[in-house]
């Protein structure tokens, strides 16, 4: 029986990788994928913790996060596409006219 800590640690690692990914990649799409990684880490955490506490709510919560993720994807991709249409690029580094 695997101690819950392992799951949690794994999730944490996943979250960290995702977060670093967001900071390291300049392709909006990939950044966005990294955010999905982070959300997955959250889900894993919820489920593992819930299981450790014999509490089903963790799993229920995951549903909502999934929905949120889905909604974000729709909107996010729409924005990315819109930008791509105009500028033919998905690199966020080129979107830095607003500053200071």
């Amino acid at each position: 029986m695997v101690p819950v800590g392992w799951y949690m640690a794994l999730a944490a690692a996943l979250f960290l990788i995702g977060a670093l990914g967001v900071l390291l990649r300049r392709n909006a799409l990939v950044m966005f994928m990294c955010i999905e990684l982070m959300l997955n880490a959250v889900n894993l955490t919820l489920i593992s913790a819930g299981r450790a506490m014999n509490d089903l709510n963790g799993q229920v919560a995951v549903f909502f996060i999934l929905v949120v993720a889905a909604a974000e994807v729709v909107v996010g991709l729409a924005i990315i596409v819109a930008i791509f249409r105009r500028r033919a690029t998905a690199s966020v580094d080129e979107l830095s006219e607003l500053r200071g």
Binding site: M8, F15, G18, A19, V22, A28, M31, F32, I35, M38, L39, A41, V42, T45, L46, A49, G50, A52, M53, D55, N57, G58, A61, F64, I65, V68, A71, E72, V75, G76, A78, I79, I80, A82, I83, R86, R87, V92, L95, S96, E97, L98, R99, G100
Partner: protein, 486 residues
């Protein structure tokens, strides 16, 4: 066998109304493609109904409290509450929405066919935030937050003719969802630490037990604070605000900024003061630090801005800091009053920006305001009063608000914080004054008076609120004092 849940309609009535309103707008639009005016009526009606329902809620809540049973205020098996705190915040949100839509109406019209969607999105966003401020459950809160935020991401990108608008949208979106992820991870960790999503539940737990090794909870709190700090644009989580305020459609920025701040702070206040008040010794200094950083960074940066929208954004950062002092003060009424006042003033201020820089909000550099005092005196006058109100000059409500939160903070023993705050507010004066200087003391470049549309009503109300609640604050202050979280 599943027992059907008991539904408390009254608890969600306003939100329901707004959701229905949004749906109505979309359907009507698809069906009849009516003139924008019609949408206007629908929205107006919706918000009016929603507002009316909040009054019902208030009465309900008052009775319940009088009867002494707070249970009945918690609805949907603890997902949301109907306490004064929620209702007050919700009213502020609805008001901000009404004003914000009026301010952005010309922009909405300029969107043509897409206008309906815009309106619907606004309504839905408000619904989401209004659920957020009412939620008594972190996941519910997260949902509300996302409903609101995602809608805002879209709104930010609505001024499609302007490149900045897209940039604003993508920045807002990426950073926003990044922050949301952080926030929800925090929620997850809190859940891991307490086994609870319910705010009251957590409160109970912490009241009853001492958690042996609460580190995970603190990490959770930290991430939650960071996530919400992003929404209220508190330093150092503020970086998105200037860019987004500048890029997003001028007409709607006021609305976007206001509702995000209100909801965000309502959430922070509820989480920190209700759920984790037992751990306040630990988080108070951190929040104080955030507050100081926000005040200082915001004021100092606003001082050197050449663009009014960025200036207002940074001033918003500073205001986040001021409101944080209220959170440190630990009294919800101070925070609520400040939020109400600030929301109205913010929407008003951006209404002016919308007028000056046109529907889709092209430019908003200080030069465009040169000689506004001559060009359209009333507009300039209103802007002046609003700016001074934000600055917190006496006889404006802004002063009362600041005074309230400072007093609370001092009473909490955070004198040094208050002193920093008052000095920061002097710096704040400095940059509000700059705008006034440009408007009145530089000779006019453009002479033709500006066309003021529905914004005039927004301004009338905002100015009225600023002055009247500045001189007779007790009416609102009493409400805020009654609007306690359970």
């Amino acid at each position: 066998m599943i027992t059907p849940p008991e539904i408390s309609w009254i608890a969600v009535a306003p939100d329901l109304a707004m959701a229905i309103g949004a749906a109505l707008v979309l359907l009507v639009d698809v069906q009849w493609k009516p003139a924008p005016r019609v949408h206007g009526w629908v929205v107006g009606a919706t918000l009016a109904v929603a507002g009316g329902l909040t009054v019902l809620q208030w009465a309900e809540a008052a009775d319940a409290l009088a009867a002494g049973d707070t249970e009945s205020l918690v609805a949907f098996s603890g997902l949301i509450t109907m306490d004064g705190f929620a209702i007050f915040s919700r009213v502020v949100l609805i008001a901000a929405t009404a004003l914000g839509l009026a301010a952005g109406w010309r922009f909405v019209v300029s969107l043509g066919r897409r206008g309906a969607e815009a309106i619907a999105l606004v309504l839905l966003a408000t619904t989401g935030f209004s659920l957020m401020v009412a939620s008594n459950n972190l996941i519910m809160l997260f949902l509300g937050l996302e409903v609101g935020s995602i809608a805002l991401y879209v709104l930010a990108g609505l001024a499609r003719e302007r490149r900045e608008s897209e940039e604003a949208a993508i920045k807002y979106f990426l950073l926003g969802s990044f922050a949301s992820a952080v926030f929800v991870y925090g929620v997850a960790l809190i859940y891991a630490g307490t086994g609870q999503f319910g705010i009251l539940g957590i409160r109970q737990l912490l009241d009853d037990f001492i958690i042996s090794s609460p580190a995970v909870i603190y990490i959770g709190i930290g991430l939650v604070v960071a996530g919400l700090g992003f929404k209220v644009s508190a330093a150092p989580f503020h970086t998105w605000a200037p860019d987004v305020y500048q890029g997003a459609p001028a007409g709607l920025v006021g609305y976007m900024a206001a509702v995000a701040k209100v909801a965000g702070f309502a959430a922070i206040t509820r989480i920190l003061l209700t759920a984790f008040s037992d751990l306040s010794d630990t988080w108070l200094p951190v929040v104080a630090a955030i507050s100081v950083l926000s005040m200082v960074l915001g004021s100092v940066l606003a001082l050197v801005q050449g663009d009014v929208r960025r200036l207002l954004a940074y001033s918003g950062v500073a205001h986040a800091g001021f409101i944080m002092t209220g959170v440190v003060g630990g009294a919800t009424d101070g925070v609520l009053f400040y939020l109400a006042i600030y929301a109205i003033q913010l929407v008003g201020a951006f209404a002016v920006v919308a007028v000056v820089s046109g529907p889709d909000g092209a430019g908003s550099s200080l030069d465009e305001y040169r000689g506004l005092g001559r060009r359209s005196p009333l507009l300039a006058g209103a802007f002046t009063i609003l700016l001074l109100g934000m600055g917190g000059l006496p006889i404006t409500s802004g002063f009362v608000a600041k005074f309230g939160v400072f007093t609370d903070a001092w009473a909490q023993g955070y004198q040094w914080l208050v002193i920093v705050a008052v000095i920061a507010s002097v710096v704040a004066f400095a940059f509000y004054i700059r705008v006034i200087v440009v408007m009145y003391m530089d000779d006019a470049g453009e002479e033709t008076p500006l066309r003021v549309g529905p914004e005039r009503w927004v301004l009338a109300l905002a100015v009225g609120a600023t002055i009247l609640w500045g001189i007779f604050p007790s009416s609102l202050l009493n409400l805020a004092a009654d609007a306690l979280p359970i």
